[in-house]
């Protein structure tokens, strides 16, 4: 973990609710950034005290740029939208335990802004010679990031209300697949999506990983604030999303 200053290079709206933030970071740190890891950004705005966590949605080793897809939800994400190219931003990074990139066929299941870390993961899997399919479910047009579908061939989009892609939920997409034709499955999305997917994936024999969210004060394991219940070795434990995760074995997580 380092506390360093990044330089904002681009900050553009992608939809009414989502924007894309690109930040130039020092070269040395780039190799440490892996899919599923995240940064805590310091937002200098009225009423924002804590940093805010955002997953890396992409890293470009050549340009030294990291990309975030950010959904507008409150004062922090609201203020961050106003940051201009050329401004500096303090970032703690890289944080957390990322996805386990595996060979073979991977199914990536994203709900809403959950696509952010999976975009990065998909690129990484492809880079390492793996195969991917993506199910990308959104609520509506405002939550849909068009450039994602340009990045990947095997991607199916579902929209809760008529909008981009097919009408339906992520779960509909999952049901339409022969999940056993995949070697592993990765998920990121809202709790309702994860809860719905859970019984459906219970018997899947391969690795299933999920990237979780939780409210964080520090992001690096010091406050013990961000815990989730995990059932492993026949014991219920609280694990830190920021340090033991955000990527967990999906089957062990108590949602």
């Amino acid at each position: 973990m380092q506390d360093l200053k990044g330089l904002v290079v681009e900050n553009i709206p992608l939809t009414k609710e989502i924007y894309k933030l690109q930040i130039s970071v020092p070269e040395e740190i780039l190799p440490e950034i892996i899919p599923g890891s995240f940064a805590m950004l310091k937002i200098e705005a009225k009423g924002v005290f804590l940093r805010r966590p955002f997953s890396f949605a992409d890293v470009d080793l050549k340009t030294g740029l990291v990309t975030f897809y950010i959904k507008l939800v409150g004062k922090g994400t609201g203020a961050l939208r106003e940051i201009h190219p050329g401004q500096e931003i303090s970032m703690l990074l890289p944080l957390g335990r990322g996805f386990t990139v595996m060979p073979g066929k991977s199914l990536l299941v994203a709900g809403g802004i959950g696509i952010a870390p999976l975009n990065f993961l998909a690129r990484e899997i492809i880079k390492k010679g793996g195969e991917i399919s993506i199910i990308y479910g959104v609520k509506n047009e405002a939550m849909f990031i068009p450039e994602i579908t340009k990045n990947f061939k095997n991607i199916e989009v579902y929209s809760e209300i008529p909008g981009p892609g097919k009408k339906g939920l992520v779960l509909d997409g999952l049901k339409a697949k022969d999940i056993n034709s995949y070697d592993q499955i990765y998920l990121c999305g809202p709790n309702v999506m994860l809860q719905a997917a859970k019984p459906y994936l219970q018997n899947f024999s391969g690795l299933v990983e999920v990237s979780l969210e939780s409210y964080m004060a520090c992001g690096f394991g010091a406050c013990l604030g961000c815990v989730v219940k995990v059932f492993s070795n026949n014991e219920i434990e609280y694990k830190k999303v920021c340090k033991d995760g955000p990527v967990f074995n999906f089957k062990e997580v108590v949602l």
Binding site: F49, Y215, C223, G225, V227
Partner: protein
């Protein structure tokens, strides 16, 4: 220019240390700075038995601060002694163990254990956590219980004994005096303010445990006043804590009467804050031509008389 301060028999190379529970066991900060720079290392509260802590959510932002209901989650004394103490004992010369108990006996048990370990230089009694149902704040607001805990531990523990008080009382000087009389060598002022945030969407308290403790700059004026009041009431050294996020904020505490200070929530926002603060305090002394930080302690009281 001299940053050294004395707390009872201990000489701290500077007056800056982490507030318990905001620095883990220090290990998370090792990437960011060398913990030897700190005046002392104060660990997260340890209890006799392991504690899972409260159900999440456990932290949330509030105006100029945060609220937490961690609930003293910790691996318990045995695990701490076996697995953690060996890892951290060389991180800083002055290791302060913060402990809490659900009963006087648990405090006594932990004090007896701590007494055996040379690497533990002082005890900080947490009689003020608002997030546990048994013990916790109840001890800190019940004057008789406070006296009993402090004097019982005092009988067992011969090294430096620090008592950390809760601000959730009518008159903190009463508790400060009681702790002093019961044998405390120093006081840490203050723990968090009891508070609650309600989520307007779900119409429920945000925290899993409903209420929690408020920390951060929001509580600083109250903390400064308590240090100021206690400085007049007791003669043992005070360790000021509550919303320190800048050199100026730290100086307020010294001027009010603190001998040393602790940094809490700001560690989350800026993990390198403490070494920066130590550097800035040194620069401040140089610029202002003040011979030692100890000269600042309580200065706001002396100045008053000349008004």
């Amino acid at each position: 220019m001299n940053l050294e301060v004395k707390i009872d028999e201990l000489t701290l190379k500077n007056p800056v240390m982490p507030a318990s529970g905001t620095f883990g066991f220090g290990l998370e900060f090792k990437d960011i700075f060398d913990l030897k720079n700190l005046g002392a290392l104060v660990v997260k509260t340890i209890t006799k038995n392991p504690r899972l802590g409260n159900r999440p959510p456990r932290v949330y932002e509030v105006s100029c601060g945060m609220i937490n209901s961690i609930g003293l989650a910790n691996p318990g004394w045995d695990y701490f002694r076996e697995k953690i103490l060996p890892q951290i004992k060389d991180l800083n010369d002055i290791l302060i163990l913060n402990i809490a108990g659900e009963s006087v006996e648990e405090f006594e048990y932990l004090a007896r254990e701590a007494q055996r370990f040379d690497e533990i230089k002082a005890l900080e009694l947490n009689v003020s956590c608002p997030n546990v149902s048994k013990g916790g704040i109840a001890f800190g607001t019940d004057l008789e219980a406070l006296k009993q805990i402090v004097s019982s531990v005092r009988k067992i523990y011969s090294k430096t004994l620090i008592v950390k008080l809760t601000p959730n009382v009518t008159d903190i000087t009463v508790y400060a005096k009681a702790a002093e009389n019961a044998g405390a060598d120093a006081l840490t002022l203050i723990n968090t303010f009891s508070g609650m945030v309600i989520d307007v969407k779900s119409k429920k308290p945000v925290l899993g445990n409903k209420h929690g403790g408020v920390s951060g700059p929001a509580i600083r004026p109250m903390a400064v006043k308590m240090v100021y009041d206690c400085f007049k009431a007791v003669s043992i050294p005070l360790i000021g804590v509550g919303g320190i996020d800048s050199k100026e904020a730290a100086l307020e505490f010294f001027l009010a009467g603190a001998t040393a200070i602790q940094v809490g929530s700001q560690n989350f926002v800026e993990p390198g804050f403490m070494p920066r603060l130590i550097r800035e305090l040194g620069e401040y002394l140089r610029e202002e031509n003040i011979e030692g930080i100890a000269k600042l302690t309580g200065l706001a009281h002396r100045r008053e008389e000349n008004v």
